[in-house]
Symmetry: C2
Subunit: 204 residues, 2 copies
DNA sequence: TGCAAAAACGGGGTGGCCCTCCATATCGTA
DNA sequence: TACGATATGGAGGGCCACCCCGTTTTTGCA
């Protein structure tokens, strides 16, 4: 069920001990990243997993790769959510709901936002489907639908929206009440931070 | 004319050699931060300035202090701009203009956004007027005026707005066309990223 | 089952970073 | 000029990412 991009790839299946270590590292990394964020010490992850640091670096050649492996299932969940929302009767609301879900995931999983930010644009195009592009593709459909329904500006791209979401999440990541803050700021950004409330419709 | 919080402070004036080194370090740090962002290596700054790393750490006990010293004049310029805009006939536009100016400064001076983000809320309350609080105070007046003119939501704080600006700048800092991106995203966030355009008034 | 080649492992080294101590050099002044 | 206060910076400690290469484990086959 979980996404094991190694067990059934064209390359020879992993040796049993390698697989064991791979899984251990992944589990420990998830904990460490939850504790210390995306900058968690790789050395300590290896230590806690009971493997040498070389083993960690062999399985995950870069920090980004480790992050992507750790958050793979979260990202898949978000993509699935996008698919579900793609049949929502209110495309505009569906898009907003999904962006909120992305924000919620990013806030409650430290490091996810950082992982989603750095897309394929900084080297390392090895991994075909990075978290970044998966999310982008998933969101693109929702935006397209919203646009067709005249519920989204024609000049805004899905990259714009996701950049906003991630930027906000990254910014509030270490605030005490990050979740609430992120939600507020996202709503603000989506509906207009400066009151473009039509004169007359305002308070009072 | 430049703000030398050391020359005329209640504490004894700096010795000539100390002052020389202080200035050298500051100049070199500005270059290094422009090159490598807020995470530039302090050791290399010391090396380039021709001083020992201990000297750097004595003058600037924390990275944040160095950043604040480097960006002090930029922040003062932004505060001055806020004062000027405080008499603008259109308070809503004035606020938007100022936020745009903050963004422009933050994008063209790598590290400024990072410096503005971390306010007094993480220890080190030694320095009375941090960049963070200076900017916040400066912006608060503009927002208050805009609010009185019904040109700003009553539920949005200056902290919200500055967090958005800084988050955006931080996010696009290493994109190739950062300035344009930041401008676009800020406009989006201020006016509403999802088209709340009234039916009929849209493009066409 | 036994064994050799292949695969994976991890200790330890390199080089970088931040930060501190303290013996030494420099400055300002009497 | 001489002296005390002040500033300096090299050396060293602790942490980190990353890599080399001798050693151990696993596997597939006879």
């Amino acid at each position: 069920m979980p996404s094991d991009s190694r067990t059934n790839s064209p390359t020879r299946p992993m040796r049993a001990d390698a697989r064991r270590n791979y899984d251990r590292i992944l589990a420990v990394a998830a904990e460490a990243i939850a504790e210390h964020g995306a900058e968690a010490s790789l050395e300590e992850i290896a230590r806690r997993a009971g493997v040498g640091s070389a083993t960690l670096h062999r399985h995950f050649p870069s920090r980004q790769r480790l992050l992507e492996a750790v958050f793979g299932d979260k990202v898949e969940a978000l993509c699935a959510a996008a698919t579900d929302l793609a049949v929502d009767p209110d495309p505009g609301q569906a898009l907003a709901t999904w962006l909120g879900a992305v924000a919620r995931h990013a806030v409650s999983n430290r490091g996810l936002a950082a992982s989603l930010m750095r897309g394929a644009h900084d080297g390392d195009p090895t991994l075909g489907a990075t978290c970044h592009s998966m999310i982008t593709n998933a969101g693109a459909d929702l935006l397209a639908r919203a646009r067709r329904a005249n519920a989204a500006r024609p000049d805004v791209s899905i990259t714009d929206l996701l950049t906003l979401v991630n930027a906000i999440c990254l910014a509030v990541e270490q605030e005490p009440d990050g979740a609430a803050q992120a939600d507020r700021l996202l709503t603000l950004a989506l509906t207009g931070a400066i009151g473009s409330e039509r004169p007359g419709s305002g308070a009072a």
